[in-house]
C-alpha cells in the first residue's frame, strides 16, 4: 500500500470513529440514567434533606430535560470538562490525570512482557508440535487464561514479597517522587531521590507480570495456531523446496504471515487492559483507572464512573484504529479489499 493510500485509509477510519465516539457518549450517558433510583439520593444516603438532593441533582444536571442533558454532557465532554467528582469534590479530569498514567504505565509494562513471551512461546510450541515442550507451553497458556488474577496476584505477593522479600507488596513507590509526567519510571529519573528508578521498577514487576498472564496466554495460543497454519502452507513448502535455510523460512516467510492475526488479538488485549485492570490494581494497591472505577462505583460517584467508562471505551476504539492501520500497512490485501 502506498503512503497516499494509507493516509486516505487512516483518514476514513478516523472519520468513522466519530459516530462510534458519539455512540459511546450516548451509551455512557444512558448507563448512569438507567441505574435504578435517584442518583442524587443514592449518593447522599438515607438522611439527605430534599434541599441537598435538589442541589446534587442540579450539579448532575438531572433537573434538565434528557435531550438537553445529553447535549450539554456531550459538549462539555468534547471540551474536556467531565464535571466534578461528587464524593471527592475535585474535577474528574484531575482524578483521571492521576489514574490514566498509572494504568498506562502498568499496561505498557504488561504488554512488553506479553507480546514477546506470547509470540515466542506460541511459535516455539508450533515448531515443536506434539512434543512434551508443546504440551507444556499449551498447559501454560491454558492455565494463564483460567487462573483467577486476584489469586495469582496474592500468590505472587506471598512468594516474592512475604517469603523471598525480593519485591514490594504494592503501590507504585515507597519514595517521595514529585509528579511531573505522572509516569513513575520517568518521574523517578527526572526528579526523584537516588535509587528511585529502581524502586519504581521493583514496584512495577509483580503487577505487570500478574497483568500480563492473560494476554501472554492468549497471544501464545493465537501465535501457535497461526504459526501451525502457515507452517503447513504451500508457499512455506516451496520456500523450503527451493533450498532456503530454515531460519530464513521462519523469519521471512512464516513470521510475517503468521503475525497478522496475532497483532489483532494483541491490540484487543491492549485495549482491554487499558480499560483498567481492576483486579490487578486492587490487589496491588495500584492507583490506576481500575482502582478509580472500583472506588467510584462503591461511592456511587456518577461523574467519575461515567468518565472512567468513557476513557476506557475511547481508548479501546483508538487502539483498534491503530491496530487496523498497522494491519493495513503490513498486509497489502487489506487495502485492496477496503478500497474496492
Amino acid at each position: 500500500m502506498s503512503h497516499r493510500e494509507l493516509a486516505w485509509y487512516a483518514l476514513r477510519r478516523v472519520a468513522g470513529l466519530i459516530p462510534v465516539l458519539l455512540g459511546i457518549l450516548l451509551l455512557v450517558f444512558l448507563m448512569v440514567r438507567a441505574i435504578p433510583g435517584n442518583p442524587a439520593r443514592n449518593m447522599l444516603g438515607q438522611r439527605a434533606t430534599p434541599d441537598e438532593i435538589a442541589n446534587v441533582e442540579k450539579q448532575l444536571g438531572l433537573d434538565q430535560p434528557v435531550a438537553k442533558q445529553f447535549a450539554s454532557f456531550a459538549l462539555s465532554a468534547v471540551k474536556g470538562d467531565l464535571g466534578k467528582s461528587l464524593s471527592h469534590h475535585v474535577p474528574v479530569t484531575e482524578e483521571l490525570a492521576r489514574a490514566i498514567p498509572a494504568t498506562l504505565e502498568l499496561t505498557l509494562a504488561a504488554f512488553l512482557i506479553a507480546c514477546p513471551v506470547g509470540v515466542l512461546l506460541g511459535g516455539w510450541s508450533a515448531l515443536k508440535k506434539g512434543t512434551a515442550a508443546d504440551l507444556l507451553a499449551t498447559a501454560f497458556s491454558l492455565s494463564g487464561i483460567s487462573v483467577p488474577i486476584f489469586w495469582l496476584g496474592l500468590l505472587f505477593i506471598l512468594v516474592f514479597s512475604v517469603s523471598l522479600e525480593w519485591l514490594p507488596f504494592g503501590g507504585r513507590t515507597d519514595m517521595l517522587i514529585p509528579p511531573v509526567t505522572r509516569f513513575m519510571l520517568v518521574d523517578s529519573l527526572l526528579g526523584g531521590p537516588p535509587g528511585a528508578f529502581w524502586d519504581c521498577l521493583k514496584h512495577l514487576i509483580l503487577p505487570a507480570v500478574t497483568l500480563s498472564t492473560v494476554p501472554t496466554a492468549i497471544i501464545a495460543r493465537m501465535s501457535r495456531s497461526c504459526a501451525l497454519q502457515v507452517l503447513n502452507a504451500d508457499f512455506v513448502r516451496t520456500a523450503r523446496a527451493k533450498g532456503l535455510p530454515e531460519r530464513a523460512v521462519l523469519w521471512r516467510h512464516v513470521l510475517p504471515n503468521a503475525i497478522l492475526p496475532v497483532i489483532t488479538v494483541a491490540g484487543l488485549q491492549f485495549g482491554y487492559l487499558l480499560g483498567g485492570a481492576v483486579l490487578t490494581e486492587h490487589v496491588f494497591s495500584w492507583p490506576g483507572l481500575g482502582s478509580l472505577l472500583l472506588r467510584a462505583i462503591s461511592e456511587r460517584d456518577y461523574p467519575v464512573i461515567q468518565s472512567a467508562v468513557l476513557v476506557a471505551a475511547v481508548s479501546f476504539a483508538l487502539v483498534n484504529l491503530v491496530v487496523d492501520l498497522l494491519y493495513a500497512s503490513l498486509d497489502p490485501r487489506v487495502s485492496l479489499e477496503s478500497n474496492r
Binding site: P36, G37, N38, R47, E52, V162
Partner: protein
C-alpha cells in the same frame, strides 16, 4: 515416576511452609519513630466540616480538636479545646472556657472568635469561608436552625445560645465534623483547603499523594504534649487480604477494616494483635407494622421466638458481634439489658396458632435483603436465608428477595417491604440518635422515604422521645430511655439482631492505640513498647 511425583509434592510443601515462615514471628519494631497504617481507601478530603466518610474522619480526628471530645474508648465527654464549660438549667445556653496557649499548626493562637468563625462558616451557606459547592451535611442534622447566637465574651470564653434545649448537646460538640480549623489557613487555601488542613491536634498534615500515601507528623507544640511517634503514614490498600499480609509481615503496623472471615486465623498469629471495639451500629429485621399480617402483635412476637439470633451471630458474623434486644449498642448509657424473650420456637408456634396459622396454612411474607454486605450485615444473603429457614419452624413461609442497594433505602424507606434486613449507624452514641430515627413517627415518610422503616407509630413513644430530648438532667434522661425501651419491647415493632464489632489488627509491640466506637482512630497516644 511416582518417586518424582512425591519429590515434587515434598518440594511444594517445603515451599509453602517457607512462605508461612516469614509471617509467624513478631515483626521488628521500625527503626524510626513512625507508624504505617493500611486503610481500604483514600480520604475524600481533610476539611472535617465537609466530609462524612470514615476514611476521612479517621485522619481528621488527629489533625483537629473539637471544643469537647469523646473519651478515646467510649462516648463519654471529656474536655477538648475547652477545659471547662457551664450549662444553664434551662439547657438553652452553654459557655465554654477555652484552653490558653493553644496554637494552630500554622502558629496562630486559638481564640474564641476563631471558634465562632468555624461555626458560622458551617451554618451559613453564604459565608465567605465556604467555597461554592460545599455541603456541610451534618449541620442540619445536628444544629439546624437551633443555634440562636454565638457570643465571644473574651479571647478565651464563648457562649452558645439555643432556641430549644438539645439533649445530646455535648455529644454534638464532640462530633469530629466540628473540629476547629485555622481561619488564616481557610482564607489562604480557599476551595483547596481540604488538601491543606490546619488544626490544633496532636498531628500536623505533611503531604498527600492521592492513591499513594498521606503523611502526618507530630505536632511538637500540641497542647496534649508532643506525641511519642514522630510520623504516621496512611496507605490506601483496597484489598483486605493484602492489608492483613502486610500487617503480618510488619511493613504496616495498623490495618483497619479487616474482613470478619479472616479474623479468626489472624487471632492465632503472634505477628498480629487483633483489637475489637463495639461499634455504634444496630442490625435489625425491619417489620413493616403497616402490613396487615404484621400488625398482629402475636405474629411479631412469634418472629422473635422463631429466630435464633445467637446462632446467626456465631455463624454469620464470625462471632464478631453482640446479640441485642434493643437499639442501643453495648456500652451506651441508658441501655436496657435484659429481655424475657429468647429463642423458643415452641412458644412461637403456639402464638402463631393463636393468630390462626398452622403448618398447613402458614403465614406468607416477603423478606428483603441488600445485595451487598454492610458493616452491620457482613453476610446479608446468608443471614436472610438462615432466618427464612428458622421462621419456617414458626409457620412463616418466607419469600426471599434481594434488592439492589442503590434503591434499598428508598424502597424500604417508603414502606414497600413486609420484612427487610436493615441497620442503623449512630453518629455519636446519644440514645436520641437511635430512638428518634428508628422509632419516631416524625421520621416516617411514604413519599421520599424516611428512617423509620418499621412504620411504627406510638404516641407514647413519640412523647417519651421528645421529652427525653429536651431533658437536661442526665438521670431523668436515663429513666426516660429505659421506659422507652420497655415500651418498645412490649410493642415488638421489630427484631433487633446484633451490634457488629469493628476489627483492627495492630503490631503486637504498639501501645496506646484506640479505635473509638464511632470508628475514628485516636493516634495521639501511640507509642512503641520500650521506647
Amino acid at each position: 515416576m511416582l518417586a518424582a511425583k512425591f519429590r515434587l509434592l515434598f518440594l511444594g510443601l517445603i515451599f509453602l511452609t517457607g512462605c508461612q515462615r516469614g509471617l509467624d514471628q513478631v515483626p521488628p519494631v521500625p527503626e524510626q519513630s513512625q507508624v504505617v497504617i493500611a486503610k481500604p481507601g483514600d480520604p475524600v478530603g481533610l476539611d472535617p466540616a465537609n466530609v462524612t466518610d470514615l476514611e476521612s474522619l479517621q485522619i481528621c480526628r488527629n489533625i483537629f480538636d473539637t471544643l469537647v471530645q469523646y473519651d478515646p474508648d467510649s462516648t463519654e465527654i471529656v474536655p477538648g479545646l475547652a477545659e471547662s464549660w457551664e450549662r444553664t438549667d434551662d439547657g438553652l445556653e452553654v459557655t465554654f472556657h477555652l484552653r490558653k496557649g493553644v496554637l494552630f499548626h500554622d502558629g496562630t493562637p486559638l481564640t474564641a472568635s476563631d471558634v465562632k468563625t468555624n461555626y458560622q462558616r458551617q451554618g451559613d451557606p453564604e459565608h465567605p469561608l465556604r467555597s461554592a459547592g460545599d455541603t456541610f451535611f451534618y449541620w442540619s442534622d445536628t444544629w439546624g436552625e437551633r443555634i440562636e447566637s454565638i457570643d465571644v465574651l473574651d479571647d478565651h470564653t464563648i457562649r452558645f445560645r439555643f432556641t430549644e434545649p438539645i439533649a445530646p448537646l455535648m455529644q454534638n460538640f464532640a462530633m469530629p465534623f466540628f473540629g476547629i480549623s485555622s481561619p488564616r489557613a481557610l482564607k489562604a487555601h480557599g476551595s483547596d483547603y481540604f488538601r491543606h488542613p490546619v488544626g490544633t491536634g496532636p498531628y500536623k498534615f505533611e503531604s498527600w499523594l492521592p492513591g499513594e500515601r498521606l503523611t502526618l507528623v507530630a505536632n511538637d507544640k500540641a497542647w496534649q504534649g508532643k506525641p511519642a511517634v514522630d510520623r504516621v503514614t496512611f496507605l490506601p490498600i483496597p484489598d483486605s487480604t493484602a492489608r492483613a499480609l502486610r500487617l503480618r509481615k510488619g511493613s504496616v503496623h495498623i490495618a483497619t477494616a479487616l474482613s470478619p472471615q479472616g479474623v479468626e486465623s489472624l487471632r492465632a498469629q503472634p505477628s498480629v494483635r487483633v483489637v475489637e471495639q463495639p461499634g455504634l451500629n444496630t442490625a435489625f429485621l425491619a417489620l413493616n407494622n403497616r402490613v396487615e399480617k404484621l400488625a398482629d402483635l402475636r405474629v411479631r412476637q412469634a418472629i422473635w421466638h422463631g429466630v435464633d439470633r445467637q446462632a446467626l451471630v456465631r455463624g454469620l458474623y464470625y462471632g464478631l458481634a453482640d446479640v441485642t434486644d434493643t437499639a442501643l449498642p453495648t456500652g451506651i448509657w441508658g441501655r436496657l439489658d435484659q429481655s424475657e424473650r429468647s429463642y423458643d420456637p415452641e412458644k412461637g408456634r403456639s402464638l402463631m396458632e393463636e393468630a390462626g396459622f398452622s403448618e398447613e396454612e402458614p403465614l406468607r411474607l416477603r423478606l428483603w435483603y441488600m445485595a451487598v454486605p454492610r458493616s452491620y450485615f457482613p453476610e446479608p444473603k446468608a443471614t436472610a436465608e438462615a432466618m427464612a429457614r428458622m421462621l419456617e419452624d414458626v409457620y412463616i413461609q418466607v419469600e426471599l428477595e434481594p434488592v439492589d442497594w442503590g434503591v434499598y433505602l428508598d424502597r424500604v424507606g417508603r414502606g414497600e417491604h413486609d420484612m427487610a434486613l436493615a441497620g442503623w449507624i449512630g453518629d455519636h452514641g446519644d440514645p436520641d440518635n437511635y430512638f428518634s430515627f428508628i422509632f419516631g413517627s416524625a421520621n416516617i415518610d411514604d413519599v421520599v422515604g424516611g428512617t423509620n422503616v418499621l412504620f411504627y407509630s406510638n404516641p407514647d413513644v413519640d412523647r417519651l422521645i421528645s421529652e427525653a430530648r429536651k431533658e437536661v438532667v442526665q438521670e431523668k434522661r436515663v429513666e426516660a430511655y429505659q421506659e422507652l425501651q420497655e415500651k418498645i419491647l412490649e410493642d415488638t415493632p421489630w427484631l433487633p439482631l446484633a451490634h457488629a464489632r469493628q476489627v483492627v489488627g495492630i503490631h503486637p509491640r504498639l501501645e496506646g492505640f484506640h479505635i473509638h466506637p464511632t470508628g475514628v482512630l485516636v493516634l495521639g497516644d501511640l507509642k512503641w513498647e520500650g521506647r
